[in-house]
């Protein structure tokens, strides 16, 4: 442990000194060093990450690298409150049995075939992750997959892998799924509509390509599954395994969630209609909806706020965003952006490629949110260079999400799902076993995104 700590300090300090030597000011180098500490902290000391950001931000404040007012501005409280509201809604949905109901639907599919199975779990994983956080959706998908694979006595690993890959791809499709979406939407000024029109189709194409790839990749297991399906016959026991009847509570919570999604979908139009500032409704809807939930379920309200809202993670995000904002504030990312632009010959297509691939590779090592938080100030710095930023934002979005597929630590969904797999079936996924399929899917989908961003002027 001490060794990791020393490596962390050495790398961060080196980055700081390196920045100084290429001509960055003290503040800029300090911002870079502290941010590296946080980023490496999440890499080496995932459990301690909050302690690291607390201390790191304190150092930034004490060294006058940034002041309190700006720390608060960059902490993106609007994004945090959005996530708080959504988490309360998800807490309600879990309690009402919504996700169990979805699992049950999957278990009930008649005339199952292997290909059907692959398609269904991919699509549902992706769709679920467009609506809620990837951690929540993956837990339920893994539950469904494990039950089905148990019943038909096949190796669950391929199907869990498929579900995880689909989850990461799906999280790029809307504003809601991943904290990344709402973060980029807020900073870039993109709306839910923009995501639906531009990101969703692309994500679906990537998903389709991935599904085809995975059907071929896992054809042996699929064949085995088909064989067992014929042998073991209809999955009647499975159908009766989990039963969550759509009772009043479930229906009401579905209605609340549906209404929230509806208004979020229309937020841009309503904002234009009522002359509100962009994204006001987007940020406000979860607050309003969860306020209503807390009236309806007033006895459980306190518990939703205290247990279903992940304060540990949200605090970490707040400070991480503040530190990333410091990079912009000190101008460190301006310098970095300049150098990048020069490297790319000031050509937008090349820049798009760089942002996409660098964020994909970065996201395969770091947590998605950490990576995106780091890149946002860089892209914001490009603004002063008269470049059209929108394709860069999409590049960041897709790179951040699709890159999470490449390695088994690339995304929180991966870590959570593989953790469950290990605990439940005592199966440990090796780094390389994942890397092979992860790299294939990751590179394939990122290439598709690259082509789309370059070819279609739509994305400008």
């Amino acid at each position: 442990m001490l060794k990791k700590f020393i490596i962390l300090v050495v790398i961060s300090l080196s980055l700081g000194f390196l920045s100084s030597s290429i001509g960055l000011s003290f503040n800029q180098s300090m911002a870079i060093a502290i941010f590296s500490v946080s980023v490496l902290g999440t890499l080496f000391f995932w459990d301690f990450r909050l302690g690291f950001v607390f201390l790191g931000t304190s150092i930034l404040l004490m060294t006058r690298t940034i002041n309190i007012e700006n720390v608060i501005k960059f902490a993106s409280l609007d994004v945090i409150l959005f996530l708080v509201g959504m988490m309360i809604l998800v807490g309600l949905m879990k309690e009402a049995g919504f996700f169990a109901w979805i699992v049950q639907l999957i278990l009930r599919i008649r005339n199952m075939t292997a290909v059907k199975f692959v398609v269904i779990i991919s699509v549902i994983s992706a769709l679920l992750s467009t609506m809620t956080s990837e951690v929540v959706s993956i837990i339920f998908m893994v539950a469904a997959v494990l039950e089905i694979c148990d019943y038909f006595e096949v190796d669950p690993v391929p199907y869990i892998t498929i579900s995880i890959l689909a989850t990461n791809i799906g999280s790029a499709a809307t504003v809601l799924g991943n904290p990344i979406g709402i973060l980029i939407a807020t900073k870039a000024g993109l709306t839910f509509e923009d995501f639906i029109i531009k990101a969703f189709p692309l994500a679906m194409v990537c998903l389709l390509a991935a599904i085809i790839l995975l059907i071929i990749w896992y054809r042996k297991t699929n064949m085995q599954l088909d064989k067992h399906i014929k042998e073991l016959g209809a999955n009647e026991m499975l159908i009766r395994l989990i039963s969550v009847p759509p009772d009043k509570e479930l229906k009401i919570s579905l209605a609340i969630f549906g209404a929230t999604l509806f208004f979020i979908a229309l937020h841009h139009r309503l904002e234009l209609l009522w002359d509100l500032e962009p994204n006001t409704l987007l940020l406000m809807m979860p607050l309003f909806a969860s306020g209503c939930v807390m009236i309806w379920k007033w006895k459980r309200a306190r518990e939703y706020v205290e247990k279903d809202v992940e304060w540990w993670t949200l605090l970490f995000f707040m400070f991480l965003f503040a530190q990333a904002g410091t990079l912009k504030y000190t101008g460190a990312t301006d310098v970095l952006a300049q150098k990048l632009a020069t490297l790319a010959g000031n050509s937008l297509p090349v820049l798009i490629g760089i942002v996409l691939w660098v964020s994909a590779i970065g996201s395969s090592i770091l947590d998605n949110v950490v990576l995106v938080a780091a890149f946002i100030p860089v892209i914001q710095s490009f603004q002063s260079m008269n470049l059209d930023l929108q394709p860069l934002w999409w590049a960041l979005l897709f790179g951040g999400c699709l890159g999470g597929n490449i390695t088994l630590v690339g995304s929180t969904a991966n870590i959570v799902a593989l953790g469950i797999l290990e605990k439940e079936r005592n199966i440990r996924m090796t780094f390389f076993r994942w890397f092979r399929v992860g790299l294939a899917v990751g590179v394939l989908t990122t290439t598709i995104a690259w082509i789309a961003l370059l070819v279609f002027p739509f994305y400008r």
């Binding site: 169990a100 039950e147 148990d150 989990i242």
Partner: protein, 149 residues
Amino acid sequence: MKVVEIMSKEVKSLSPDMTAREAFDIISGMEISGLPVIDKDGKLVGMFTEKDVLSHILPSYIEKVGRFVYEQNPKSTKKKITELGNIKVSQIMRKEVLKVNEDTTLCEVGRIMLTEKARRIPVVNKDGVVVGIVARCDILKAMAKESEI
């Protein structure tokens, strides 16, 4: 009154190398909720309770899923129950064990049982060797008796 005065000195304990099946048969045969796990050197290494067994046989994500109504036992649960004969106690037991010293007072043991939600707590002496075990009912009976005088 100190807990040493009311604890059960005959401590049936489990060995970490026993199979979970054996251990489970013992605790259900004795109709108690759990027993301490003591190694060859007499050191307390864990606690094996019904709750730990239940937690092991049900899927691990079950505490995070909200409303999730099982109408039947999942296949994995059935499998894990049959596999109990192949797993050691050390793999299921909880390793962070609550324990109290011999000279802990009744009320303090009661407080610990309440805040840590424990029904049975092993009692150790100064050297960390288990000398007894105290259950919630023992504490209550003793406190009631004390007040009658």
